[in-house]
């Protein structure tokens, strides 16, 4: 998985790619490269989300026990 920086940096780069599409700035020559980069960012963010969710799911029952304790 390539380096996409932290979540905010990656989100900014992804937003910029989407914006360039919205504004019609992407040439056909660049299209694949940009799509490939966007896909990489999305997959990396999803993987990070999944990993974070898994860790949160591990901790959540412990926090729930505290939150539901009387």
């Amino acid at each position: 998985m390539s380096d996409i920086g932290n979540w905010n940096d990656a989100a900014r780069e992804l937003d910029a790619i989407v914006a360039s599409f919205d504004e019609g700035e992407v040439s056909v020559d660049d299209l694949f490269a940009k799509l490939e980069r966007a896909t990489t960012i999305i997959e990396t963010l999803e993987a990070r989300l999944d990993a974070t969710k898994a860790r949160v799911d591990e901790l959540a029952p412990r926090l729930s026990r505290v939150a539901e304790s009387e």
């Binding site: 979540w7 989100a11 992804l14 937003d15 790619i17 989407v18 599409f21 919205d22 019609g24 992407v26 056909v28 299209l31 799509l35 966007a38 896909t39 999305i42 963010l45 999803e46 989300l49 974070t52 969710k53 949160v56 959540a60 926090l63 729930s64 505290v66 939150a67 539901e68 304790s69 009387e70």
Partner: protein
């Protein structure tokens, strides 16, 4: 008294005289003619029976001539009376004002007149108890002791609980049960104490002092329900002062609903029963736990899930956007190419048509120069020996055989003469 009266007065034996005297007393003050007598107890002695020396209220003890009523109550009658007084929290003691109901008896062997008690005015005594209680409250108030312990700062999480109680009693079990089943890790430091009777006040005071020096957050005085007499030790001035002087917050759970001891009034916090006291202490800890542990944990949990949901939604939305953006972009390019291709076809066809038209024109124009047409008009074409068209005289020489092409054929001829005249 005249001499006659003296002379006629009867002479009695001592025993006979006491019999007469007893008869006279009984007719006016005897068992069938009981009286109420009001006074202040000067002395009291109890051993199965109770003996009370009653004097006029406010009379000086040093006055040797003050009247004294030697009253007594025999055991069979004293036992139920004592129980009733105890239930109301009343103790017969020197200084107590009391109304005694009974009758006079004469004890001949000692020549003493006594008073046999059959009833005691409890209501009057209760009024006295209430008065003394109010006096004590007034004293404590004037000394600022009613509020002293209330000003003591309490830790927000009182988990180390000093307990003054009598183990095995219902109040003890009710109180400790609430703490132990609260789910919190209460640590109870018990100092045993009697919680009723004359021995209780000094023991309670000692227990408070012991716990005040121990590593506890609060000190609880706990005693289950009982008669006013049972609870009287918590109205004791020594106990009240010990509570006021304590450096730790004193909590009370004494008696049941409706009971209010002076210890309750002086204490930092009071509950109406031991059970309620346990509940209130657990509630204090629970409130802290809610504010500082449970709710933050819930907020953390909610915020974590919210953040993850936002992240998931963001990535999903970006994924959809990218798919549509790329698809739109490609479709745009495809439409552009198709448009270009269609344009090219139309353009080419137009060019072809134009070319065809030009060709036709050219063909028509060229037709005018068709040699056959010229030959038909009478023109002929001469070619020399080399086969080349003879255009000038220089192309032939005298004697050359030339071929002459006409409209319907050709013939051969020989050059005999060249004439430069056109």
């Amino acid at each position: 008294m005249s001499d006659d009266e003296v002379g006629t007065a009867p002479v009695h034996e001592v025993g006979e005289f006491y019999q007469l005297l007893t008869a006279q007393l009984e007719s006016a003050f005897g068992r069938r003619h009981p009286h109420w007598v009001r006074g202040e107890i000067a002395k009291v002695y109890e051993k199965g029976h109770i003996y009370v020396d009653l004097v006029d209220a406010g009379s000086a003890a040093a006055d040797t001539k003050r009247p004294v009523l030697n009253a007594h109550c025999w055991g069979t009658q004293w036992a139920p009376l004592k129980k009733r007084l105890a239930a109301e929290g009343v103790t017969l003691a020197p200084g107590v004002l009391v109304n005694l109901f009974g009758y006079v008896d004469l004890y001949a062997p000692q020549g003493r007149i006594g008073f046999t008690i059959t009833q005691i005015d409890v209501q009057g005594l209760l009024g006295d108890v209430a008065r003394r209680r109010q006096e004590l409250i007034a004293r404590l108030t004037s000394e600022g002791l009613m509020e002293a312990n209330k000003k003591v700062l309490m830790t927000p999480v009182p988990l180390r609980v000093g307990l003054v109680a009598s183990p095995g009693t219902e109040g003890y079990s009710d109180f400790t049960g609430q703490l132990l089943h609260s789910g919190f890790g209460f640590e109870i430091v018990l100092v045993k104490s009697a919680v009723q009777g004359d021995a209780a006040p000094p023991q309670i005071v000692a227990a408070i002092e012991t716990l005040d020096s121990a590593d506890v957050d609060i000190i609880c005085l706990v005693r289950g329900g009982g008669s006013k007499g049972d609870l009287a030790c918590f109205d004791d001035e020594r106990v009240a002062r010990a509570v006021a002087a304590a450096k730790r917050p004193i909590f009370t759970g004494i008696g049941h609903t409706g009971d209010e001891s002076i210890a309750d009034l002086v204490a930092h916090t009071r509950a109406i029963t031991p059970t309620k006291l346990g509940e209130e202490i657990a509630a204090i800890v629970r409130s802290w736990h809610d504010r500082h542990v449970r709710l933050p944990a819930q907020r953390l949990l909610d915020a974590g899930h919210e953040l993850l949901d936002e992240g998931t939604e963001y990535v999903a939305e970006r994924r959809r956007t990218m798919i549509f953006a790329v698809r739109d972009r490609l479709r745009g390019e495809q439409r552009h190419l198709e448009g270009t291709r269609a344009g090219l076809v139309v353009h080419s066809r137009h060019l072809l048509a134009t070319a065809a038209q030009l060709l036709a024109s050219s063909r028509q124009l060229l037709g005018a120069y068709d040699p056959k047409r010229r030959l038909a008009q009478g023109w002929s074409i001469v070619t020399g020996p080399s086969g080349a068209v003879v255009r000038t005289l220089n192309d032939i020489s005298i004697g050359d055989a030339v071929r002459v092409l006409v409209s319907d054929g050709s013939f051969e001829s020989t050059v005999k003469e060249k004439d430069g005249t056109p």
